[in-house]
Symmetry: C2
Subunit: 334 residues, 2 copies
């Protein structure tokens, strides 16, 4: 563990570096408020901090730059309520959620934009899972002789759709019968726990009903939540190497990777993942700040922010926390 003075010096370096993006020298630190020792002492301490892996020196006779480990210490030592949002931002969040309405998807996309605006980093919003959601409506629609569209409305206002391929000619009558059976047996049940539907004498109806029920159950099981990414343009100026920018953007387009990343961080009980911690190679220069949101007391999804490792953690934490809380509340009542 670091003694109090080393910790203060490390914090000072991180803060300075976050602000200026320049290697920080002992003089700057010594001049800082919280440290009341000479620059020579700071130098000695910084040498130790470097040996222990908290700082890095780009080359002799340069200042120090925090390593991922240094950022980690910094983030862990941030007090819980440390970051307060400016009133203007708080107000912006509140009015956003008060005035937003319309389709769930639109709102989540707008939420990701809100978050990007607040923090000036790229943002990610993972939509609610469907596992706990109940079936509000289910309908089969014949599109042509062999394909039937399954449309379901869930209690969280999400829409689930699925294309079913039928191995026989689907008449309107069969489709209607199947729809009725599905509705009478499944409505009101959570996707995770759909009752089995007894067979009828018409095997084609049975086939359709089975396929639909399976698709819904599968959706409840595997649906990881839709992803909405916003503010990617801000990544262009966040790094100086264009290759980094390209790699980060390319990774953000692979939505599966993004959901998994957020989920892993949350499952690990963390709210911040720094640089190489998350093990996604092209995002090694990035940190992620995440917060799950609760709908009716249950974990349903997450919102997050993705920026360079030298991002403003306390502001990002505050913004992400505020947005996730408001979002959860907003989704809790219809």
């Amino acid at each position: 563990m670091l003694d109090e003075r080393k910790a203060a010096i490390l914090r000072a370096v991180v803060e300075e570096y976050i602000e200026t993006a320049q290697p920080v020298g002992s003089n700057h630190v010594a001049r800082s408020e919280r440290v009341n020792v000479s620059s020579a002492t700071v130098r000695n301490e910084m040498a130790v901090l470097e040996q222990e892996g908290y700082l890095h020196q780009p080359h002799t006779s340069a200042g120090r730059v925090p390593t991922d480990r240094g950022y980690r210490f910094f983030v862990d030592s941030l007090g819980r309520g440390s970051g307060r949002l400016p009133n203007a931002q708080n107000h912006e969040i509140r009015t956003f959620f008060e005035t937003s309405h319309g389709a769930l998807e639109t709102m989540l996309l707008d939420t990701s934009r809100l978050l990007a605006n607040l923090t000036n980093y790229a943002s990610v919003v993972v939509g609610p899972q469907h596992e706990a959601a109940r079936l509000r409506s289910v309908q089969l629609v014949g599109m042509n002789a062999h394909t039937v569209l399954l449309v379901a409305v869930l209690s969280d206002a999400a829409l689930e759709r699925h294309t079913l391929e039928a191995p026989f000619d689907c008449t309107d009558e069969i489709v209607a019968l199947a729809t009725t059976r599905l509705a009478t047996h499944l409505l009101g049940s959570p996707l995770a726990d759909l009752p089995v539907i007894a067979a009828t004498e018409d095997s084609r109806v049975n086939t359709l009903v089975e396929a639909a029920r399976d698709a819904l159950a599968e959706a409840g099981r595997s649906h990881t939540g839709d992803v909405f990414v916003g503010g990617t343009a801000r990544m262009a100026t966040a790094f100086d190497a264009v290759e980094t920018v390209r790699d980060v953007l390319a990774t953000l387009e692979r939505q599966y990777v993004v959901v998994t990343l957020l989920r892993d961080v949350i499952d690990g009980g963390l709210s911040v993942s720094i640089g190489s911690e998350h093990g996604i190679e092209p995002l090694a220069a990035c940190s992620v700040v995440v917060s799950p949101y609760l709908v009716d007391g249950q974990y349903q999804g997450s919102v997050g922010v993705l920026g360079p490792t030298r991002m403003n953690y306390s502001q990002a934490l505050a913004a992400v926390a505020a947005v996730s809380q408001r979002l959860g509340r907003r989704l809790s009542d219809g």
Copy 2:
């Protein structure tokens, strides 16, 4: 108009510059196949081409770079069938559309990625409009006392959803009645031409039915097609100025701007818009190659590619044409 020799020189400059991104000197052009004059003559011609606005000289003693006008001439002089796709790419497109199935949205998103891979530029796919689509299924679902979800399936397999706010308590019965009325009167009609529904004695049912019909009609009128953007990461390396990258990415996030851009180009009867031609300030360094696709013989949407003005037009044109044609065909049969 340019005489044949000037045209040949201009074409040579454009081709060379597209390939190397370096200002092109008279020697390179003189050495080219299609021009059989000395470099001195080429210099004289290039001076004229510059005066007439086809070329630009970054500074004295540098080669020439095409202007937007130069690119325009080049593109216009490309023979129709000039650009042939390599067989591998043709094959890739074919198998993509043969194997893709599932929800329309997923397919369009994947299409945009396909196009980005083929061309190495950012790509845009605008989904079908709903104007001509017929109503296949319509359903109201009560979400809570005052909100009702309207879900409609269209003949192009698209799903239209809308939240209706009811100024009274919605019982399941009212919702069911309204659904039935909507279904019996509207199914099969194109959104652009929905029949008026006579009132019943229950005014609350009437209100709901009216609201739903209006929402559908409005959707048919104003729905411009969903936008799917792919390959944005490739913009990171397409320009050397990071600000340009940032501005382009930011613009690509504003989907409305993108749809409008594509539509304007197509409405102007063009398939390429170069640099400042389209008048969108932050995209002044970009060219757009677009192609509409036809579903059952009707214009329904478009696919396009967005790259730097020095993009490979003939390849982009070929790829966009191939994809739009296949996409249209794929959407024509369910």
